[in-house]
Every structure is written in C-alpha cells, then in structure tokens.
C-alpha cells in the first residue's frame, strides 16, 4: 500500500522524450561534431582515439587524405576533442546516434587536398596543415626571409629532410678532415 502512496506522491517519473527534447547537463559528452573547414588533417585525433573510431588515411588512389569517423566504434571519451589543435572536432550534446538498417550511415568522412614535397614531389601531408603552420609563423614575428626559409623546410617530406640532414653531417665531417 505504501508503494502506491508513493506513486501518487511522486507522480509521473517519465519524460516526454522523444516527443519533446531531453535536456542534458552542460558538460555532457555527446557525439563528436566535425567541422570540415577547420580540419587540417594533422591526424592527432586518430592517434589519440583509444577505440580506433577515428582514422586519417590516404584514399585508394593516394591523391587525397581521408578523415573518417565511425560513430559505431566511438566511446565518447573526448580524447579527440582534447588533442585537436584547431577545434575541428568537438564533443557535442547529441546522444541520438541510432541509424536504420545501414551501419554505413554511422560513418562520416572528409577529404583533404595533399601537399607534395618540394624535393621529391611525393605527397606527404595536407595543404591545409602547411597553411596552418605558415599562419602560425606569421604570429611569431619573424622576418619574411626567415618565414620563407622555414616554409620551404616544412614543404619538404620527412625522408628528404633526413636525407638532407645526413648530407649535412657528412659534409661537416668531411670539412673537419
């Protein structure tokens, strides 16, 4: 009997959801929201993601870098949000992630243009990443000359850089001899 009294006392415990929205607290970790325009393809999110929900890889033709997010694997931990340098990925408040019949619908992608190495012309990173770095150079207050030099440096792929560095060392040793 007491239980019935309680039912009367507390009344309706259910929410109107899904007929009216369900409010979540401010710090709620919902589905990661991707802002394509901000993404520079740095792959930080893919490295950080513990469940491999985010991947950044070259496409089959190897002419584009593809950012891909599979919501079905996401555990809403927010590591991607934490590491993204540009704020392209932010956890939102959305928890309604069901899809009908097709798991592919859970996948989101973004394609990014590739930058080619000044030396060997191999594609090695995205244009936007280089642009992002250059923009940051401007903030440091270097002279145009330094900036140009550094820009050239970052437009070289890691292999060529290694090569160059090895060359420098050999030159140096040679000079000593």
């Amino acid at each position: 009997m007491k239980l019935l009294d309680m039912t009367l006392k507390y009344g309706n415990a259910t929410h109107d959801y899904p007929f009216s929205p369900y409010a979540v607290p401010e710090g709620f970790r919902g589905k990661p929201e991707y802002e394509y325009d901000l993404c520079i393809g740095c792959t930080a999110c893919a490295v950080a993601c513990p469940s491999n929900a985010m991947n950044v890889e070259l496409n089959e033709a190897k002419d584009k870098l593809v950012w891909e997010f599979d919501c079905g694997r996401c555990i809403y931990c927010g590591r991607c949000d934490e590491v993204c340098p540009t704020g392209a990925i932010r956890l939102g408040q959305n928890f309604e992630t069901a899809v009908r019949f097709n798991k592919e619908d859970l996948i989101e992608t973004g394609e990014l243009e590739l930058e080619h190495c000044l030396k060997c012309n191999k594609a090695f990173t995205t244009k936007k990443l280089i642009a992002y770095c250059v923009q940051n150079f401007l903030k440091v207050g270097w002279t145009q000359e330094v900036i140009d030099e550094k820009t050239k440096y970052i437009q070289t792929c890691p292999e060529c850089k290694k090569h160059d560095a090895a060359g420098l060392i050999t030159d140096y040793k040679g000079a000593r001899r």
Binding site: K2, L3, L4, M6, T7, Y10, A13, V24, P25, G27, F28, R29, A48, P50, S51, I75, Y76, C77, G78, R79, E82
Partner: protein, 578 residues
C-alpha cells in the same frame, strides 16, 4: 617492517628465497614450487589470509620460466570479531614460484586452499600450466571446441586477433557437468541466459522433487580476451578505456584499479583532489549498482511496483553521474597520474541536492518493502552462504558481508582518499538473500555519506601530476578497490616502451562464483534465480534452465519466461507435466 611477522613464521617451515617490497605494503616472497601449497595454506589459514588473486605469467623472455603469483590479503580470519589483524599489520603477501618452461607443472594449492580452484583451472586454460592433484581440472574459460594445446596467453602462442575456426556443432565436444551420485535426481539446466541479469551462463540444477541438491555451472561464454588485447597492442592511455569495458555496471572500478596498479608499480602518487574525484565516481557507481540489484531482487519475486520505484530513484544517481563525469556512466575519466575531468562548484552544489533527494527516497521505499511480509518472506532463509564456505572460497563484497564477515577492501586496505573519510562497514549475520539486500541498503546510505564527505573535504589544486616518472620494465604491483560487487584486483607488470607486459584483471564475482554451488543446496527451484541475483553476478549473459529429476532421470528445458513466471507467481510448477 610490515609483514615480517608472517614471513618469519613462514620461515620456520619453509625456505623463503627472496623477499621484496614494492610498494611498501605489498610483499613478494619467492618459494620453491614444491613448497607452494604449504606456504599458501599457512598464510591463508594459520595467519588469516584471503586469496585476492592468482596471476600466472609467462616470463620466459625475462628469466626463462613461467611464474605463479598467489596474492594473499593478510587481514585476519574474521570468523570471530576478535579474529582480525590490527590495521598496521594488514598487508598483501604474494607468494611467487618459478615453473620451469620444460616442465610446466606445480603441485595444486586447491587441495589445501579451495579458493584457488578457479585460478588454477584458468592457469591451465591460458598458459598450459598443470596443477598436479587439482580436484577439478575441467576447462574453465575456453570454449569446449577451442583447439587443444593452444594456450592463448603464452607470449608466443598467437596474435590477439587470431580466431580458430569454429567446430561444427555436431562435432563439438560436450562439457562434462558434475553429476551427483545416487538415483532419482532431477537435472535442471538454467541457461544459457540468466533470468535476472540476462547474461550468459549455463546452470544445471540437480533436484529431488522441488529441492535443489546440487548445482554446476559453465560460464565465460563471453570471454573477450581483453588481457591479451591490451598486452598486444595497447598503451596505458588506451588501457583505462578498455578496462572500463570489462563490465557494463561497475566498469569504472575496473578502470581505476587497472590504472592504480600501473601507478603503484612505480610508486606514483596522484594529487589528493584527483583521489577524491576517483572515490566520488566509484561511489556513484555503487549507488546505481546497488539500486539495480535491490530492484531486481524485488522484480524476480514479483514485486514489480517496488522495482519501478527503485529504478525511478536510480535515475537520480544516473543524473549525478552525468553531472560530475559527463556521461550516464562515470566512464572515460581516469588516466595514469590523475583524472581528466574536474568537478566545478556549481556541479558540487547540484550534486549535494541530488544526494539529499536520493537519501530520503531510498529510505522511504526500503521501509515500504520491509513492511511487505510476502516480500520479506521470499528473501529470508534463502540461499544461505555458510560461513565456513565463505571463508574457504574467499568470497567478497555484500555476499560475504551478509554472512557476518567484516570484509571490505576500503576498510582493510584503504586506498586513495579513503583515509580521510569516515564510513561504517555494513555487516549482517543471516547469510541469506535478505541479509545481502539489507547490507546493500545500508551501503547505499553509507555511500551517500561518503560522496557528501568527498564533496566537502575535497582539497583544491591540480587533478593530474606533472610527467616526471618513467615506467620501470618488469616492475609489478596489484591494486584493489571495492566495486559494488566486492573487491576488484588488478595486477600489472610493466613492459618496455610504456606498454604493459602482463595485465591480470580479477573481477569481484570471480571469487563469488565457486561458492554459489553451496548456496543453491537445499533451496527450491523457484528461488534459484533469486539466489543468483542476490549474489549480483557479473557475467557478461543465460535464457534456459535444465531441470533434471534425480528420481526419474528425466530432464526438461525451461524457457526464460516459464521460469521467470514461476519464480514470480509460484504457480504452475515446471515439473508438473514431466
């Protein structure tokens, strides 16, 4: 030093080759494998130890051997109130023994300490280490059609993602269930899905008329090989998120235990504020888990009304979790060296309000349930966990506290912020379902008070340490915490390159399963589901039950609904038409 007392006593009978401490209260002693059973028995029965975990390990790459670690929690036998060690003597003693790779056998400890039975069965499944004399050498974890001679956790056995081809159903070997002697018992398989928790596990109940005379069960249908996965390809940053997925209810406790084991192995202290937040999250988990269990214990006996009310109140605890951790479960917050998410003053204020609401309403609903005689009578005297059985099998959590043991790892081996907090260990004497549910109710109120204290006493400051410590390869430690179902133990041995070499996760229920058989005996079929429920099992899920009549030898498979309806209404006995 701590623990010397025990070691000296041990030395009277046994050669102790090596003693090391890391951290301070975790002592590792090395003995010859022939001395293993006696050493464990002395610590366990003569000096008041409990088996916390046993870790088999493949250290062939390090020292050419397999190694067994029996971790024993020294806290006193607790059979009487006086029989308990003073806080300054409580510690862990890990008995370590090398098993040569060319002869992977050791004398079984189970003959002397029954609590080791599951651990030794697992050591065979996973590493192929043979416990000579083990009374029950059947497979425990691996499925019946798993290839012989493939021991997954051996470092050179397989990749973590290797999946042997499934064997055709007709060729699948049968699992050898234990069978009671004598004629005229009725065999009742319960499973593969359990009635209250909808989780897999296959039970066989042997009945004489309506009374269960014995039981056997087969679990681990959902063994996922997480330990192998973590050892193979995870970094510590990822491991916490994996450890969380050990369980859908008390995963947070697993994540903290896992990370704390990694921290303790290199003696890393985390900021006090982070410690307090860890405790808050863990206790929130206890709130919703205990309410879930009390609710289900009502539902299984047909009290749907109480079940609904308890779940309504439970929603507040979920809201609290959302508030302080950003998710309905408190997941995703622990990292090595501290926490990822701080709690703001505004959140604290709302949190305290929620606690008040829960406290009043939990009391209200419990009072109503207690007044309901038909409910209370279904719980009383059912599924008694005998004190000696509990002692022998090192049971944990509300399960053992309902049998009058003051055993709570928050109290025996305080961790994190617990040294600053006042709380009472709730103990009941009945040993039945009623006692266990009463313990849970008492703990709900304690938990609310713990969270309140944490909110109030939480020091300000940072929630993560500065990176300065480095992982030390091969350093190991265990970490404990009191999950809603009892003590969770994680054991970690560091490897190279900031990765884990061996991770052993022991969930609370692992220590409770072996004694369940004894809890079943003498009860009726209608109570079987309730008994399992009151243990609050953690097996990732069983939908059928086989009944076997000992008298006629007939058996019958019950569907989930049939058994559930019978448990709730006690009408239409399942064996009526056999």
């Amino acid at each position: 030093m701590k623990g010397d007392k025990f070691i000296n006593k041990l030395k009277e009978k046994i050669t102790v080759k090596d003693v090391s401490r890391m951290p301070e209260e975790q002592i590792t002693i090395t003995v010859d494998r022939a001395d293993l059973p006696e050493a464990v028995r002395m610590l366990y029965y003569d000096m008041g130890g409990w088996l916390s975990t046993m870790v088999p390990n493949d250290e062939r790459a390090i020292n050419g051997n397999y190694v067994l670690y029996y971790a024993i929690s020294m806290e006193g036998g607790k059979m009487t109130p006086e029989d308990e060690l003073p806080p300054e003597d409580k510690c862990w003693i890990t008995v370590k023994a090398y098993i040569p790779a060319h002869d992977p056998t050791y004398p079984s400890v189970t003959c002397k300490v029954p609590a080791a039975v599951w651990y030794e069965r697992e050591a065979y499944d996973m590493f192929g280490l043979v416990a000579v004399g083990l009374p029950d050498p059947r497979r425990l974890m691996l499925s019946d059609d798993w290839p012989d001679g493939l021991y997954p956790l051996r470092k050179d056995a397989m990749e973590y993602n290797y999946r042997p081809d499934p064997v055709d159903h007709a060729d699948e070997p049968d699992y050898d269930f234990m069978h009671p002697e004598g004629s005229g018992t009725l065999d009742i398989p319960l499973g593969p899905l359990h009635i209250t928790s909808d989780e897999p596990g296959h039970f066989r109940l042997y009945c004489d008329g309506d009374t269960i005379i014995d039981a056997d069960y087969r679990l681990f249908y959902q063994h996922r090989g997480m330990e192998k996965l973590a050892e193979n390809r995870m970094s510590y940053d990822q491991m916490a998120f994996l450890a969380e997925r050990v369980c859908g209810i008390c995963g947070y406790a697993h994540a903290t235990a896992c990370i704390e084991a990694a921290e303790r192995a290199i003696d890393m202290e985390i900021p006090r504020r982070a410690q307090a937040i860890r405790i808050i999250n863990q206790e929130i988990e206890r709130l919703h888990s205990h309410m879930l269990n009390i609710g289900l214990a009502c539902e299984v006996t047909g009290n749907i009304n109480a079940f609904m009310h308890i779940f309504r109140i439970r929603e507040y605890s979920m809201e609290l979790a959302q508030l302080v951790s950003g998710g309905r479960k408190t997941y995703g917050n622990v990292v090595v060296g501290g926490m990822r998410r701080d709690i703001s003053a505004k959140e604290t204020k709302r949190g305290l309000e929620l606690l008040d609401i829960m406290e009043t309403q939990i009391k209200e609903v419990w009072e109503a349930v207690m007044e309901d005689d038909s409910q209370v009578s279904r719980w009383k005297g059912v599924g008694i966990l005998d004190r000696q059985v509990a002692r022998d099998f090192s049971a944990v959590g509300p399960n053992i506290r309902g049998s009058g043991f003051k055993r709570d790892t928050r109290y025996d081996h305080p961790y994190d912020f617990h040294d600053a907090i006042d709380f009472k260990v709730i103990v009941e004497d009945g040993g039945d379902v009623f006692a266990r549910e009463t313990v849970r109710y008492g703990e709900l109120l304690q938990t609310i008070s713990i969270i309140r204290q944490c909110f109030e006493l939480m020091p300000s400051g940072s929630i993560v340490i500065n990176h300065s410590k480095r992982i030390i390869p091969n350093a190991f430690a265990l970490a404990n915490n009191e999950a809603p179902r009892g003590e969770n133990i994680h054991w970690i041995q560091h490897g190279n390159a900031h990765k884990v070499n061996r991770w052993r996760c022991r969930a609370a229920t692992y220590n409770n399963w072996p004694s369940l058989r004894y809890q079943f005996r003498g009860n009726t079929i209608a109570d079987a589901a309730l008994i399992v429920c009151s243990m609050d099992p953690c097996y990732s899920c069983t939908d059928r039950t086989t009944l076997i009549d000992v008298k006629t030898g007939k058996s019958k498979i019950l569907s989930h609904d049939e058994l559930k309806r019978y448990a709730q209404t006690l009408k239409n006995h399942p064996m009526k038409n056999m």
